[in-house]
């Protein structure tokens, strides 16, 4: 079983729709949760970062973490064509020697004008 599971999609929505992206994980030791956005032929860029259960909002984006269910979500409100990208969830454990990062495989999103 992979440490992090993410539905690869692809996901296609009309402009203005609410998008829900999800990841599940198996390791209860994960402490920090991140969402990266990756445009075609570019490197991933950090979109959202959270370390506790609950919701964190940033503009049109809301990151949700449910540690009891080992489930995280990213919601995009009023989706725009510029949101078309691959979204990667990532998780982090702090260890004595540093940080260990684990990534989902990414969900491809297309927002149709």
């Amino acid at each position: 079983q992979k440490e992090v599971e993410q539905d690869p999609g692809p996901l296609s929505v009309p402009e203005g729709a609410i998008v829900s992206l999800n990841c599940t994980y198996s390791n209860s030791a994960f402490q920090y949760f991140m969402w990266y956005r990756q445009y075609s032929r570019k490197g991933p860029e950090l979109l959202m970062y959270t370390y506790s259960s609950g919701n964190k909002e940033d503009g049109r984006f809301t990151a949700q973490v449910d540690k009891s269910s080992k489930y995280i979500s990213l919601f995009i409100r009023d989706s725009q064509p510029s949101d078309s990208a691959t979204y990667l969830c990532a998780m982090k454990i702090l260890t004595n020697t540093g940080n260990q990062f684990y990534f989902g495989t990414g969900t491809s999103l297309t927002v149709i004008p």
């Binding site: 032929r41 490197g43 940080n99």
Partner: protein, 117 residues
Amino acid sequence: NAGVTQTPKFRVLKTGQSMTLLCAQDMNHEYMYWYRQDPGMGLRLIHYSVGEGTTAKGEVPDGYNVSRLKKQNFLLGLESAAPSQTSVYFCASSFRILTGGVTDTQYFGPGTRLTVL
């Protein structure tokens, strides 16, 4: 402030050839990482470094070597390229803050697309 840069952007190799990918960061980050990204596999860690002069193996280290002679540079070497090493390679860097925090997250370079024929 250029962030994380990677050289070259594209490369085509023949089986058995060698090459070195260069990663440079100007953010004074202690940690640096090399990942490969393949369809359906996500990002997989090849090697990483927790400081100048140190390296460690990640999830898929076989066939690769790395060196971190300077804090700002992290080199990934392929001694004898194989078609299975066709991939997009990403370098990333981060601060070493053991208590965590948003500044502890990884910053990625633009990637190197490598094709091995």
